[in-house]
């Protein structure tokens, strides 16, 4: 099984990087994250300048010229991490839309599924390569928080927590997109559903005023963003890891189910 998975994964990687989409997605993501990181940095600089200019006019020992909550963690690192999460949602469906749908449209799924491969192996390889691409995206943009970590003394562990959180979050979005791709042969439909489902699951704030408090609490537990924030602040919580692992597993299972149900039609 390992050899088959390795061969399939190599095939998926080759196909992924044979298409310009992968490079465009990488470029767009790295550029977007760079620009927004820079914007946060500039705003933070300006804020510091304003506070410190006012502080200099007071004499003597002035404790906390700049309030301690105005710091590079709260003003640059965490907001950037939140932006990066949103950008993942923007770019990942462009990658996941073709993974299953293209095979089905080209008929090459017939080639794979009649060669003795188990559907779960096919799904595993496709999911695995997509998650590896997510990691590549994150490493490409990790340079921004790494810069902050080095300058601000936040500690590399904090950066590790952020990257782990982004990886879980990105894999969850990718998994949902892959499940959508598995149920259709149209890349457009896969892309639209790949955007719609994670977007609706992102944060149920738009529903919170119309439902009861109990239902709102349940929706909060289901929302993607409510499980992402703690990673940016350097804390890895078991419930968030379990949540994202659960979404990834369900997405993979749905992909396998699609391949099996397609056979049973």
């Amino acid at each position: 099984m390992i050899r088959r998975l390795a061969a399939l994964s190599r095939k998926e990687l080759r196909q992924l990087f044979a298409s310009p989409i992968a490079y465009v997605v990488l470029t767009v993501y790295v550029a977007l994250t760079g620009i927004y990181f820079f914007q946060h940095l500039v705003s933070y600089n300006q804020l510091l300048f304003v506070y410190q200019s006012e502080g200099m006019t007071g004499g003597g020992f002035d404790q906390g010229t700049v309030p301690s909550r105005i710091n590079v963690l709260n003003e640059v690192f965490v907001p950037s991490a939140e932006d990066f999460g949103l950008f993942l949602l923007v770019v990942l469906p462009l990658v996941t839309m073709r993974v299953f749908a293209e095979e089905r449209a080209n008929g090459t799924d017939e080639l794979l599924l009649t060669s003795g491969l188990r559907p779960y192996e096919v799904a595993l390889a496709k999911h695995g390569v997509t998650y590896a691409f997510v990691l590549l995206l994150l490493l490409g943009s990790a340079i921004y928080p790494a810069v902050v970590v080095l300058r601000a003394g936040l500690g590399m562990e904090h950066l590790v927590a952020l990257v782990i959180g982004q990886l879980f979050y990105g894999c969850a979005i990718a998994s949902l997109g892959l499940a959508c791709s598995a149920f259709t042969s149209s890349q457009i439909v896969a892309a639209v559903l790949g955007y719609a489902i994670p977007f609706v699951l992102l944060d149920f704030a738009w529903l919170s005023n119309t439902v009861s408090e109990g239902v709102a609490a349940v929706l909060r537990e289901v929302a993607l963003l409510s499980h992402y924030g703690s990673f940016a602040r350097g804390v890895i919580e078991l419930r968030n890891v379990v949540y994202f692992a659960g979404v990834v597993a369900l997405g993979w299972l749905a992909s396998v189910a699609s391949l099996e149900l397609n056979r049973a039609r």
Binding site: T108, T114, S115
Partner: protein, 243 residues
């Protein structure tokens, strides 16, 4: 080594549409067995059920006693499939594609290299090994499809319309290759080309509206005149052709 096939009352329905209706047939080991019929007769449907890509609504197909419905992976390990209008990875080079398919079939190392060499030799693919599949002619694409199907020396070879769109010379060459499989593999050849079935196959099954309309050996066909005459006799009345 070749495989024996038994199809027992195989049916396939898509809602109210009956694509296959209680089809039963047997294919002996080492035989080149042809399946012909008009469009929508159920040929490709049958092949997809045989290869495990689709699930039969009723009935079952057995390959060397193994049930396609319940033991499809074991069946798939024993067959090679070259499907209609070959579905290949256009962005792969021929050598990379064959390495991929060989690996998916569980081959590795020296065994894989040897298998690729044999398949390339049999299919005459040496001149195009380092070319991208997407830029190959139809003929070579068909050969690549066949090459990947025989990499693992399967007892059963399933070939769906291999000569569609090829020029006469390519058709002749491909028929020669398929006929050469006789004895080493059981071949199920699905084709629209009546002459091809007549020349290559040991037996031919005529499907019509999901059912087995006729089954004849090569000798019986020649004794009866031609396959075309048989086709017209069985199918022509409803297809609008004069019998």
């Amino acid at each position: 080594m070749s495989a024996k096939i038994e199809a027992q009352r195989v049916s396939k329905r898509f809602g109210s549409i009956v694509a296959l209706d209680a089809l039963s047939l047997e294919v002996a080991a080492g035989e080149v067995f042809g399946i012909i019929g008009p469009n929508g007769a159920g040929k490709t449907t049958f092949l997809r059920i045989l290869t495990g890509y689709w699930l039969a609504s009723d009935g079952d197909v057995r390959v060397d006693g193994l049930s396609v419905t319940h033991q499809r992976f074991a069946v798939q390990a024993r067959l090679g499939y070259a499907c209609e209008q070959p579905k290949l990875y256009s962005d792969h080079r021929v050598d990379a594609f064959l390495r991929l398919m060989g690996a998916l079939r569980g081959l590795s190392g020296a065994r894989l290299r040897g298998a690729i060499e044999v398949a390339v030799d049999r299919m005459g693919l040496e001149p195009v090994m380092r070319r991208r599949i997407g830029v190959l002619s139809k003929g070579f694409r068909q050969r690549v499809a066949l090459a990947q199907a025989i990499l693992h020396e399967p007892p059963l070879l399933v070939v769906d319309e291999p000569t569609v769109g090829l020029d006469p010379a390519q058709q002749i060459e491909l028929r020669r290759i398929i006929a050469g499989f006789r004895g080493q593999h059981t071949v199920i050849l699905c084709t629209h080309q009546l002459h091809e079935a007549e020349v290559v196959c040991d037996r031919v099954a005529l499907l019509d509206r999901g059912q087995l309309a006729a089954l004849a050996t090569a000798d019986e066909i020649r004794a009866g005149g031609s396959l075309e005459a048989l086709f017209l006799a069985k199918v022509g009345t409803h297809s609008g052709l004069a019998s």
